[in-house]
Subunit: 219 residues, 2 copies
Amino acid sequence: MVLHLLESFNDKSKFRFVLASKSPRRLEILRGIGLSFEVTPSPFDESILMKDSQSTADPAGLVARLAKGKSSAVVEGLVGKGVEVGVKTVVIGCDTIVVVDGHVMGKPKDEEEAAAFIRKLSGRSHEVMTSICMHILNHDMKIESVKSIVEKTKVFFRPMSEQTILAYVKTGEPMDKAGGYGIQGLAGCFISHIEGDYYNVVGFPLSLFCSALESIDTK
Amino acid sequence: MVLHLLESFNDKSKFRFVLASKSPRRLEILRGIGLSFEVTPSPFDESILMKDSQSTADPAGLVARLAKGKSSAVVEGLVGKGVEVGVKTVVIGCDTIVVVDGHVMGKPKDEEEAAAFIRKLSGRSHEVMTSICMHILNHDMKIESVKSIVEKTKVFFRPMSEQTILAYVKTGEPMDKAGGYGIQGLAGCFISHIEGDYYNVVGFPLSLFCSALESIDTK
């Protein structure tokens, strides 16, 4: 596990971690394990990839491209901004999508779409996919390696009445979240169970991420 | 769902909720859905039931008895302390156990036992069972009904090295938790996936609890 490696990862003469996301949920999860990192929200415009992909035969490929796009855009901004010799920079890009019958849901654009999302998810299961892309750079900001992971979790919603759907949308919780719900919030009331990693549904597959961290050379 | 019923449940002329637990995690989950409640830690001595039950053929029955014991002890303390006519009091008792091969794990008594627990859970699956017992009382504190639920979630740990187990125990996280780990904390790093309700593993099966709340007459 990553616990015994944290000392190396938090050693500023060896590593510098940059999270290419401003999602408060991702920040909280990553802070929770005690990793030190900077936050640089990615300028990547995901609508380019999401526009034509409301239905896709390869949702895992899509979410991986989105995560890589976010990470790459931050890496581009670092070019020419070298750090001390011996310090590796790890840029972490993430994206989460909700997939139901091959249809991809990002964040709802308004309350109406949020209600339509929840109506579609009610009383059945769907998949949540989160991809993390890590660019590992040397002190000159040259890319040494790129690691990409995709985690999938099945989520089951209890059947919901129209009254509950509208009450939920009215809380405002759905608006900034893929699929229009937050398992870490009120949606916990109507999610009967999941199969997979909980943190993946929140937006950051913690266990798989820790496995990937372990494969980084800390010598 | 419970969302549209919250107005009634939070109406002090109709309901009064009492949580018979001081677990900060349970408080946080219950507060998260917007339910107003008082906290009265239960004087129930669970060691009476837990002592002889390190192995049991009926762990679900055991956890249900523990939850009911906690709730009942708080109900006893309310006898004679009637409230306004028309107000129902709902006392909520909870207990969580970890079950592996019919062996029941409560909270570890020291670091050594915590390490032994984690060693046993490493690289395999186990079950987490939480029971909630609700005593519903009339204004005279006479019991109108008792609802008891048990939720089960399967939890999978990645294989852990001895080094990681000891590093985890050293963080202090295991000490006040059934099975010696907290999925909402650092243990999220080594839990690869779950099958069931996440909140049940934290100690409060939110979705099943909300279903049970819906069956309470709010008229």
